[in-house]
């Protein structure tokens, strides 16, 4: 009780209404920042769902491909060329294309879905399909469906779980759904089906077997991916790109972040949240300093330094930051839980992002405090008499 007086806190506490308004304002800003940053993060994580799920060490693709859903083709012979290099164990050709899916229950409703085809005798999809499903797609006109796709594709999941046979029309060809895998949606992708290369070509008869979208290169154990990549790059012409897993994912993320306005929009949203918070805190602190100018002048007349008063205002700023951040984080967490169900996007608050936003909040409040302090400079102790 006799320790030095926490003047900043006592002054905040003395004006309860203003304190509540300030906390609500900061909470709002914190939610805004959290949601925007988290959506941005979710965008990146979801954009590379297939990149992460497929098994490969190096990915081959056309230099014209800038993101997965709109891939361009390249000669399959380039992939087989890669097979000839030391350290390469296998190479799997992958075909990919957005196709039209008709809702099995309501066929008038058509929607684009990503169709993926690969040679079931080659590796690369172990994490997506089990052995049974790999066998199943060898049978003509059978596909495996992403159970985490959007509901607009029809109640495929429910029907299959109930043990019923489901078939649907893809690009006007009827296929049977032989099972389900789990990946999920992203901003460019609502759902997917995986099948064999042969079935893929049945659905898309105009596509040539020799023109593939991606090549998945698997290396022998103990091989250095970058070293092999350099060797292959040197030997094959520049009409294909060969990327490591990291580079392949970065390419996709770069596309969504830089080439589309989406990444920018979320970053901008987060910045707006920060600015809104900055203005709110500044307003509150400025009004607070304004109200206490006479008291501050009195303290100066008693012999308190400018530094002491600065600490009082900064103390207020940090208290506001903490009090605003906690409910903001709680509400944002709630929003993510609900939003994750609704969008099937990977919305999840990591400790790291929570810490990041907290630092941002404190910086925002301290920054506003610094701006409000300029008023304090003008406090003349001689004015109190």
């Amino acid at each position: 009780m006799f320790a030095s007086i926490p003047l900043g806190w006592l002054q905040l506490k003395a004006q309860k209404l203003r304190l509540v308004a300030a906390i609500m304002g900061i909470t709002f800003a914190v939610i805004l920042i959290f949601v925007q940053l988290e959506f941005r993060e979710a965008l990146f994580v979801s954009a590379v769902r297939y990149h992460t799920a497929m098994d490969y060490d190096l990915a081959m693709l056309s230099p014209k491909t800038d993101f997965m859903v709109s891939s361009k083709q390249f000669p399959r012979s380039r992939l087989y060329q890669a097979l000839g290099f030391d350290g390469v164990e296998s190479a799997t050709a992958v075909y990919m294309r957005l196709v039209s899916w008709r809702n099995p229950v309501d066929p008038s409703n058509a929607r684009n879905i990503l169709a993926i085809g690969f040679d079931p005798s080659e590796p690369g999809f172990e994490r997506l399909l089990n052995a049974e499903q790999v066998e199943a797609i060898k049978i003509p006109d059978q596909v495996i469906f992403d159970r985490r796709g959007r509901d607009e594709y029809g109640p495929v999941r429910e029907l299959l779980d109930a043990g019923q046979a489901v078939s649907a029309e893809i690009n006007d060809r009827r296929v049977a759904i032989a099972g389900m895998y789990e990946v999920g949606t992203s901003f460019g992708l609502d759902g997917g089906v995986i099948t064999s290369d042969l079935n893929f070509l049945r659905i898309l008869p105009t596509r040539k077997r020799s023109a593939i979208d991606f090549g998945l290169v698997k290396l022998k154990p103990g091989q250095d991916a970058e070293e092999v990549q350099a060797r292959i790059r040197e030997a094959i012409p520049g009409d294909v790109r060969l990327l490591t897993r990291r580079e392949f994912m970065d390419l996709e993320i770069q596309y969504w972040n830089k080439t589309t306005p989406i990444g920018y929009i979320f970053a901008f949203g987060a910045a707006m949240g920060l600015i809104v918070g900055l203005i709110i805190v500044y307003q509150i602190l400025f009004a607070d300093v304004q109200d206490h100018l006479k008291e501050y002048a009195t303290l100066k007349a008693m012999g308190y330094t400018h530094g002491y008063l600065r600490n009082v205002v900064l103390q207020e700023a940090v208290i506001l930051a903490v009090l605003g951040f906690l409910p903001g984080m709680g509400i944002a967490h709630l929003v993510f839980t609900k939003g994750s169900d609704a969008t099937r996007l990977p919305l999840d608050m990591s400790v790291q992002s929570a810490l990041g936003v907290f630092v941002l909040t404190v910086a925002m409040c301290a920054g506003s405090g610094m701006m409000a302090l300029r008023k304090l400079r003008a406090v003349d102790p001689a004015e109190v008499f």
């Binding site: 009780m1 006799f2 320790a3 030095s4 007086i5 003047l7 006592l10 002054q11 506490k13 003395a14 004006q15 006479k294 008291e295 009195t298 303290l299 100066k300 007349a301 008693m302 012999g303 308190y304 330094t305 102790p381 001689a382 109190v384 008499f385």
Partner: protein, 366 residues
């Protein structure tokens, strides 16, 4: 107590504004104030008394002359030196200036923690000082819950908790009624006496002037003598009385003349006689207490001149300069109607003899 003056001012001048707008508010002020002394600084608004107080209080640095406070020269002093001096001064503000979001206890503690006093020691000292100002039961109240007088007491507790060597008070009674004002001033007086502080009290509340050991009067930035101030104020008020209520003026004048006569008759007037005179004037002459005091003072002025005569051998009534001015002016007055008559000469010589003034070196006018 240290031997040197707590506050020493020499030729202090101060200006506000720059260039063409420059305005001088203080002119060559000089005075010394010692510990235990209570000095009241008066003067009309705009006379510069607040400026002088802020200079002494190290709230602004002095521009010209010398302002020495507790041995520290404040002429062109930097912020650090000013802050050091401020911490050794107790301020009592006009509007109490308590921090609204702190309790009385915390407000006092704000001053105490400046002096580095914390812990149990601080708690004891706060309790003691609040006891002294009579606010022991209000320790944990907020300023908003106190009356004007109580707030001012809390302000005094805050100013005095560090036992400052100097106490500066700016209009401490301005927002208080007569009784609370009186109480507050007496409290400042008592506490300052106990601690041996030098006190400067700025006020234009005439009712509290009597607590002063010394009165400094400022007008238009210059120090004026008390005699000048009293003469000016009294003559102005007498003129007003003459103009607006000539009957009362005559009545009061008659009483003062008569009382002076009674005082002449009996050269020794004791305190009990005076009290008796006051009682009679109030009850028989139906005068208000203030009017009684006024008559007493007027008659005593004349009595004072007479009583000077009785010990004129050991204590001349005037010093040499004043004796000369006194007689010269009497002759000049006598000559004002054209010529000095012989009756006038005789009368002047009689007065001079009566006041024990020799005429050596003073040439009689012809």
């Amino acid at each position: 107590m240290d031997s040197g003056a707590r506050i020493a001012l020499e030729d202090v001048s101060h200006m506000y504004g720059k260039g063409a707008l420059e305005k001088q508010v203080l002119f060559d002020i000089g005075t010394h104030i010692d510990g235990g002394e209570i000095v009241i600084l008066t003067g009309p608004s705009g006379s510069g008394k607040t400026t002088l107080l802020t200079l002494i209080g190290a709230l602004r640095s002095a521009q010209k002359g010398s302002v020495k406070v507790l041995g520290q020269e404040l002429l062109n002093a930097g912020e650090k030196a000013l802050i050091k001096v401020r911490r050794q001064i107790g301020y009592i503000f006009q509007a109490h200036n308590l921090l609204d979001s702190l309790t009385v206890h915390q407000n006092v503690q704000m001053a105490l923690q400046l002096g580095g006093v914390t812990g149990r020691d601080a708690g004891d000292r706060i309790a003691t000082v609040l006891q002294r100002v009579g606010l022991a039961e209000y320790e944990h109240k907020f300023p908003g819950e106190l009356s004007g007088g109580q707030k001012q007491r809390a302000g005094i507790a805050r100013a005095l908790v560090n036992r400052p060597q100097i106490v500066l008070a700016d209009e401490p009674t301005a927002s208080l009624d007569k009784q609370s004002g009186r109480d507050v001033v007496e409290l400042i007086q008592d506490l300052a006496r106990e601690d041996g502080s030098a006190v400067i009290l700025v006020t234009h509340d005439n009712r509290i002037l009597d607590v002063a050991d010394r009165i400094l009067h400022l007008e238009d930035g210059r120090m004026k003598s008390l005699s000048e101030v009293v003469s000016e104020g009294t003559s102005r008020m007498l003129n007003l009385l003459e103009k607006h209520d000539p009957h009362s003026a005559n009545y009061l004048a008659a009483f003062s003349f008569a009382l002076a006569r009674i005082a002449y008759a009996d050269s020794e007037v004791t305190d009990s006689e005076r009290d008796e005179m006051r009682r009679i004037l109030h009850e028989v002459a139906k005068l208000e207490p203030a009017e009684v005091e006024f008559i007493m003072e007027l008659s005593m002025m004349q009595k004072r001149a007479r009583s000077g005569l009785d010990n004129r051998i050991t204590n001349p009534v005037f010093d040499k300069d004043r004796a000369e001015h006194f007689l010269n002016s009497l002759y000049a007055i006598a000559q004002a109607d054209g010529a000095v008559s012989s009756e006038e000469l005789v009368e002047i010589e009689a007065i001079a003899a009566e006041f024990g003034l020799t005429q050596s070196g003073i040439s009689a006018s012809d």
